[in-house]
């Protein structure tokens, strides 16, 4: 796997890697994916699910409810008046 691909993956994942990390992770992922190529020998099927057990939909009565006070959750974040503050979008 070349460094350009790892650099592209890192950008998608919002990670900035040093030159040393680019080199090292490229080698590591190469080794790992080479080992994982055994999967090419496994039979493919369309009958799979995204969980190992059946999952049911859970609905509740359509009544207002509040488990957690939003004010408490906002306490972990940077705020201005009643708004959450974040970085620039452009």
């Amino acid at each position: 796997m070349d460094r350009e691909i790892i650099a592209r993956v890192a950008r998608v994942a919002r990670l900035e890697l040093t030159e040393e990390e680019l080199e090292r992770y490229a080698k590591d992922l190469d080794d790992i994916l080479d080992n994982f190529s055994v999967l090419d020998e496994a039979p493919m099927t369309d009958s799979y699910t995204f969980n190992p057990i059946p999952v049911v939909d859970v609905l509740r009565e359509d009544e207002p409810g509040q488990d957690l006070d939003p004010q408490v959750l906002r306490g972990q974040m940077s705020t201005y008046e009643d708004y959450v503050r974040g970085p620039r979008l452009s």
Binding site: V9, A13, D28, V38, T45, L89
Partner: protein, 439 residues
């Protein structure tokens, strides 16, 4: 390891043990005590999941398993250290300290619930909440010489758990005996509307049925340390003496389990960890006058550890356009195939038996020389039941030079009580050792 390093480790171990003892000494005797892995949220405690990016995060609510243990009269005495977000086999990938094996402090407790393994081993009567994604309960239970139950996926609510892999994470228990695990498992199990995956489960039976026929896949007996092989074979002999039928079978598809697991786990982790961006939880980036890409990238790059970055990269790569079918969808198909293979075995046998880990607890200096792929390979016995969501239990089954070896029993979905029944019978025939620790 030099004498000075060993002596410094000993001081650290004594300091930590003293903290345990002092905490337990001040508890209400009428109540039981428990600890929780650091990726479970609890009021009044930081929930850092072993990561610097969650430094300072104190959740305002209890995870459902913690709430249920408290309601049953339990006292939460602390959070236990772990590999960052569960990314590890030896609990060395943590921003908040490495747990030392109570049998030999120069060795690992296993991971990622290493702190839970140590707490369960050191404190009589203690029950530790652990979390398993690919073997994070069985591994520490094996290296720390305790009982570790990883329930069926969906048996215990994941509400309040800091996710690693949504389709793989399971909250379970570690303790010195099967009876302790049984008692508290009943408390934490059961449907919870806050986690829909827990709502399809059948009722937990009052009592299990002791498995009388076990299958050992021959593929699980390769690449074992000779001491583990010998100890495991002795345990198999003991099981046969107890009247249990044990038969070797072939399960060649096990070779697909490790890659399928790591692809699913890292794919899910790479999306789950997207929420840690310096705004909502833990470490907060204060310089807001920058583009959001730079803001998110900066805090993530300095806060995530080496293994977290590696797994985020691997998972992101496997989900990218052009690779999704080859890796992610293929892994889902492999999981389904393995579930069917297990089911076929369970038509003739009640459980699958293997060693838990392929070697005894390694020394930290040995771990530091391991390559990532070697570390991933160390989980090859614990991954299959985790990938398929099958319940499994690790029990001490032998000792080599005073260090424990574990065996792992896997049963069909929802049959945890059968495993606990087997564990109780086993404890009647095999005496567990616990390390002597001096203050």
């Amino acid at each position: 390891m030099s004498a000075s390093v060993t002596s410094s480790l000993m001081r650290l171990a004594q300091q930590r043990y003293r903290a345990f003892v002092e905490t337990v000494d001040h508890l209400d005797d009428a109540k039981f005590h428990f600890s929780a892995k650091d990726n479970l949220c609890a009021v009044g405690f930081q929930a850092r999941a072993g990561s610097a990016i969650l430094e300072g995060y104190v959740p305002p609510f209890d995870a459902t398993p913690i709430r249920r243990l408290k309601d049953a009269g339990g006292q939460l005495i602390g959070k236990t250290t772990m590999d960052e977000f569960g990314f590890g086999t030896f609990s060395v990938n943590s921003a908040h300290g490495v747990p030392l094996n109570p049998f030999d402090i120069t060795r690992s407790c296993g991971g990622s619930s290493g702190g839970a393994g140590a707490a369960a081993c050191l404190i009589p009567g203690h029950v530790a909440l652990g979390v398993s994604t690919g073997g994070s309960i069985s591994g520490p239970a094996c290296f720390c010489g305790v009982v570790g139950l990883s329930p069926t996926y969906g048996r215990v609510s994941r509400y309040g758990l800091i996710d690693y892999g949504n389709s793989l994470d399971k909250v379970g228990l570690l303790a010195r005996s099967a009876s302790l695990v049984r008692e508290h498992f009943r408390t934490i199990a059961g449907p919870d509307p806050k986690d829909p995956t827990s709502c399809a489960q059948p009722t937990l039976p009052d009592k299990g049925r002791r498995p009388d026929s076990l299958a050992i896949p021959t593929e699980a007996l390769t690449n074992l340390d000779p001491a583990v092989r010998k100890g495991f074979q002795e345990a198999v002999g003991r099981l046969k003496d107890m009247g249990v039928q044990v038969k070797e079978i072939s399960m060649p598809s096990l070779r697909f389990a490790m890659p399928a697991y790591y692809i699913l786990a890292t794919s899910e982790a790479s999306t789950n960890l997207a929420r840690y961006c310096g705004m909502r939880f833990g470490r907060r980036e204060e310089e807001l006058n920058q583009h959001f890409n730079d803001f998110f990238t900066g805090v993530r790059s300095v806060s995530f550890g080496d293994e977290a970055k590696r797994r985020i990269l691997l998972g992101t790569y496997c989900r990218m356009v052009g690779f999704r079918s080859r890796y992610y969808l293929k892994s889902l198909a492999v999981r389904q195939m393995l579930i069917e293979k297990y089911r076929k075995i369970f038509q003739e046998h009640q459980a699958v038996l293997t060693p838990t880990m392929p070697f005894i607890a390694p020394r930290f200096e040995e771990i530091s020389r391991m390559k990532p792929l070697e570390m991933y390979g160390a989980d090859f016995l614990t991954i299959p039941p985790n990938l398929t969501g099958m319940p499994h239990i690790s029990l001490p089954c032998a000792y080599v030079d005073g260090l424990p070896i574990g065996m792992q029993l896997v049963s069909d979905h929802w049959h945890e009580m059968d495993l606990l029944e087997m564990a109780s019978v086993w404890e009647g025939a095999f005496e567990y050792h616990h390390p002597e620790v001096r203050l």
